[in-house]
Symmetry: C2
């Protein structure tokens, strides 16, 4: 996994379609370049100001969208060089994160924010590495 | 499509995993019986009291989850026999709707509700039939 760089994280604009009664928001189609396989879809809530960090997947590619609120995602491969990306209902984008990258995230809006992960593999604790948040010198 | 009945609509409980900083909510795994293929994922908002109806897919199977708010879904094959199902953050379930069934939905909570559809085909206007809401005698 040593050859995975932060520039392998892809960010795509997603369409919001104004619709009477409530908007429609695209996430992903099977024809999209970033789609390879469906493994699992799940939601994660993140409360305002709270941090969930750090995890690294050995196998899973994550596709992350935030339809409610706003979330700051932070990525690194070496803990001296971080990439920060904020997405949410007002910056509505898809982040594709290949395996091999450490990530964490924090709630960045006044209310709780909702993350959808469309992952290419099912959740499996054996393929997830964890570091305690405090072991990495990053100012959230 | 004449042999599709309302009992072909499947409803499954979904797990909510209490997590410090914000809960995790399951939606679907590739190993689930109801999963066949990934076509497209998209969100639809529905405002309180608003109705979006009626549509029928010729090909698409929909898998519907509501992580925010509460939504009343109404289904029929013949407009004298309706099935109503309410799902939402407090009744967190997955509804699987095969093609051939007319459906509509309304916002059933104080704020807007969010629906995720994990569909087995991509959106294609040619496979969607529509009826004006008022042409069906249903009391929302």
């Amino acid at each position: 996994m040593g050859d995975v760089g932060l520039d392998s994280i892809l960010i795509h604009d997603l369409k919001i379609i104004p619709t009477s009664g409530g908007n429609v928001m695209h996430v992903m189609k099977s024809s999209d370049d970033v789609f390879h396989e469906f493994g699992e879809a799940y939601f994660s809530w993140i409360e305002p100001g709270r941090v969930k960090a750090w995890k690294r997947h050995k196998i899973m590619t994550m596709n992350l969208a935030v339809p409610v609120g706003s979330v700051k995602f932070v990525f690194f491969t070496s803990p001296v060089n971080f990439r920060e990306v904020i997405i949410g209902e007002n910056f509505y984008k898809l982040i594709t994160v290949p395996p091999g990258i450490w990530y964490g995230f924090s709630g960045h809006s006044r209310n709780s924010s909702l993350i959808l992960n469309l992952a290419d593999t099912m959740h499996n604790p054996d393929e997830v590495e964890r570091k305690d948040c405090a072991t990495v010198d990053f100012k959230w």
